[in-house]
Structure formats: C-alpha cells, structure tokens
Symmetry: C2
Subunit: 155 residues, 2 copies
Amino acid sequence: VSPTSPNKPRWLTSEEEATWRALASVMVKLPWALECQLQGEAELSFIEYHVLARLSEEPDHTLRMSVLAELANSSLSRLSHLVKRLESRGLVRREPDPTDGRFTNAILTKIGYAKLVATAPGHVAAVRELVFDQLSATQLKQLNHICRGLLQQLQ
Amino acid sequence: VSPTSPNKPRWLTSEEEATWRALASVMVKLPWALECQLQGEAELSFIEYHVLARLSEEPDHTLRMSVLAELANSSLSRLSHLVKRLESRGLVRREPDPTDGRFTNAILTKIGYAKLVATAPGHVAAVRELVFDQLSATQLKQLNHICRGLLQQLQ
DNA sequence: CAAGATTGACGAATCAATCTTT
DNA sequence: AAAGATTGATTCGTCAATCTTG
C-alpha cells in the first residue's frame, strides 16, 4: 500500500516506519527469548513466572484472582486456566476468601516459592543481558519515560 | 524474592525494575490493542495483517514462504498454517516457484490487496494514536535507537 | 541427503456462557 | 441482581515428524 492514499490517513514518515518495525520486532522477539529461557530452565511461561513472582511479593504470598489478573496483565479467564495448571503442579493453591466467598485467593505454596527462588537468578540474568546491558544510564531513563507515556494511552 | 540473594545474581535496581515492568506491560498491551483494532475492523490478526502488508510491498506481490516468515517474525510452520487460512479466505494463494519447485511462493490476491487497502488506514491511525502521537520527535529518535540496540542482542 | 515446506497432535488463550456468593 | 470466578468450545501456535524437490 502506497503513501499516496486519499487524504484521511496520515501515513507514517520513514523514520516512524523504521521505528515501528523495530519496535514490533522487539515486541515479538524479546518475549520469545525470555519464554525460551524460562521454559528451558524451569518449564515456566513468562506469565506463569510473573504470577509466582507477584504472589511472592505479598507478605502472606496471597492475592485475589482478580487482583492477580490485573497485576499479571491477564484476563481472569486466562488466569483461572493458568492457575489450575500451576495448582496441579503444586506451585500454587486456591482457597475461597474466608471473609467473602465470592473471592478466590491464590496462594503461593512452599514448593512454588522454592521454584521461584531457584528460577529468579537465571531469569533476571537473561533480562539483564537482553535489556539492561544494552542500555546506557541515559537510555534507561528515556525508555522508562517513553513506556510510561505509551501506557497512559493503553489505559 | 528479595534482593538479598547470595551474590551471583546482580539484581535489578529499582529504576531498572520500574522500567522493566513498564516495558513488559507495553509488550503485552500494545500488541493486544492493535489486535483488537484489526480484529474488529477486518477480522485480521496482527501477523495476518503484516503478511498481507509485506506481500503488498513486493512489485509482484509475491514472496517465498521462507522469506516471508523471516519478515513477519514468524516460524515457517506458523506461517504455513496461517497462509492456509488466508488462502481459504481468498486473500492469498500459493504456487510452487517455477524456477525451483522446492520453494513455495505466497501471492497476494486481488481480494487480499483490496482488503489491505481497506484496512491499512484504520490500522495506521491506531498505530499513530497509540504510539507516535505519544512521542516527541526526540523520543522517536531515542526509541528507534534503543530498539535497534535491543534487536542486536536478539540476533 | 539437505533445504523448504507441510502436516498432525498437543497445549494454551479467547470468548461466551455458566455458576456461586453476597 | 451483580461481581468474582470457572468452564467448555474453538482457534491458534509449537514441536516433532514427514513429505518433496533438486
């Protein structure tokens, strides 16, 4: 499709186009690389790792499913399927919230925590190697700022 | 998991951590938003759109499957399944390369091209709104540079 | 036999529908 | 009735195995 379309669509400049292609590639390849690292070393997907990680950040290693879904950038349905699998592996368990049975609490088990502790260093090393080792201190700040701006529009 | 682990894993600084969370969110939410836009307006996935778009950039609207897979950041297997679906919708067709039967050419059909022409303005508008309208000219350059750096490590 | 491509089985995400608790 | 959560059907991507052409 050529840039000579009617008039409504403001096309991308060649610099925007190049940036967009690079960004799109990063959005495909970076998650993939991290998936591979996690799958190879821990048989965990990226989102599974983060579910465990988020739970570990809570003092009681517990979060409501709906809150966890938000934190993990996941739909509730996806999370429900996913936690069921983690539960069958003994990494997480679920209980209805004692104070209000409509909520379900996801709870990190001892085994799940151990798994996370064993997995985290390798994962962090991969993130460091693939992302932060490639960025100067200035670029780090720039990227932070840029991402925050983009997130605003992504509600 | 706390930052007070043995010694091997150089943990992330709090600034790196914040940046990483923001970047991870962008990598999930931005593709999702664009998927929704394309699915809603054209019943195309992000990768399907880009397959059509890449084909349209060739003078003869033709690319070998293996080349197209590279350009679309896709495995050959994934592309094969995907193109089969596009073919069943009449948007693309496949032929063995006349000069060497080992290659398969994917060819954008008239219908596929029309679909792309109809879809592109809305998609570009979404990319503009979600990405480039959020970036200053300086940030555009920064993002371009950052992404290119990251891609180098992602081979 | 090697490279390009396809296939089928399986695993995981989505969507809509349903169930449960208040 | 509404919010939180689960479920099942469908679809898509992955992996490994296979097919095909030169």
